[in-house]
Subunit: 242 residues, 2 copies
Amino acid sequence: MSMQDTASSGVALWRLVADGIERGIADGRFAAGDKLPGEMEIAETYRVNRHTVRRALAALAERGLVRAERGSGTYVEAQKLAYPLRSRTRFSEIVGAEGREPHGRLIEASEDVATRELARELGLKTGAPLVRIEAIRLADRTPICVSTTWLSAELFPGAGTVFSATRSMTKMLEHYGISDYRRGATRITAGIVDATDAARLDLPLGRPILVVDATDLDLEGKPLVTKHSRFAAERVEFVVEP
Amino acid sequence: MSMQDTASSGVALWRLVADGIERGIADGRFAAGDKLPGEMEIAETYRVNRHTVRRALAALAERGLVRAERGSGTYVEAQKLAYPLRSRTRFSEIVGAEGREPHGRLIEASEDVATRELARELGLKTGAPLVRIEAIRLADRTPICVSTTWLSAELFPGAGTVFSATRSMTKMLEHYGISDYRRGATRITAGIVDATDAARLDLPLGRPILVVDATDLDLEGKPLVTKHSRFAAERVEFVVEP
DNA sequence: TCAAGTTGTCTATGATAATAGACAACTTGA
DNA sequence: TCAAGTTGTCTATTATCATAGACAACTTGA
């Protein structure tokens, strides 16, 4: 196969191969730790020169999805983060439980006013002052999700600054005297990543994302924060437990 | 901008430009008949050489999405097919009503056995022999949808051959003495086109599709065929009428 | 009629993509 | 130990991608 044979699609052959392998990793045909087929074998299945396969594997290795071992083979590095959806879910605990290092980082914090929908979720009046926090969460160095969090600016003054310092939603709430909270209504849908989130999640454009809208409640059931999160679908797996 | 500047994404610059323009057409920023910006202007907005823009426009023109007029400009050709969802819908009639030429083509016909779900839809027993027809439908030369159709192999022996000859689901059913039928349960969802359908629909990978599951019934309400159709979302617009 | 703006076509150059072959360096299992 | 199989690294060739400049052919509106 040559570049002409792709009907001049404008997509490089090595990219097609890389996407194919990545899809295989994403949908589980190649699991974490698995050995990929040899470069020659991949070249044959895609009807491509071995060097083209090497280009594809190099691109995947650069992103940390695979790791090549000379003389042995190329192995899958990536593994999906199992994300249980319990009443009490803490990102740091979930990530830590898998032996990975959780990180949080503030992207942006700003003042906002409640739309009717946000007000209803938070039990506030439409137009009430809110703090909007745009944050990203990572496991080791892999971005897992970006989320937009809204909370009352009157109940949590300067929340953006506090979150920026603590890098944790849980610790930020502790700062305001909230020792514990639990998950309220949660809606899960899917979609395609937009350009902004793609850059933040280090995802190619067009990849599927899991969209989660959730509101966290205090122990009395009063809404604390409402979140709109976008997870890289290929890096996380929601687990619903009874 | 040069190829290196795209961070070696493996996607040609002209393809990015073409996809951008096509998206503009798909989401209505450029309507049918509209004049696109001049090649120089497009080149500036994408920060690309004019020749690269010409390559993109040539690719779009080849697919019939735009038409270049020397000395005047480049105009949008494509228009979305309005697809009314009535009880009695015939692809050929819908396309013909818009002054376009309907076509049907058999991709593949094979024997299959009914899964529990298919059997329920068709009112058959699980494991009953089925004919599976993979077909594509076009308006003029533009692919609109691909659909997988299942029907009883006992009630419609050799259905694949008949469909291949008539190129029409309606005429195929007429061959078995069924003069009329109507649409039964219809479920519409959305998704991302897979590689196989993308090639068949002449769609770039990652584009959204409308997924329609429907069962056609005879006049007594007995199931005849059940279909799983994938429409190119950017070329068709379902219209629900009261 | 004419100037401005449009698309069409040509030549040219450098960088990248894809192929091909050969061999080195290394791992694994017999 | 050794053979087979793996990844790593060279050189080399051809086609495509992207840029650049110039000019022709054509349309439009003043």
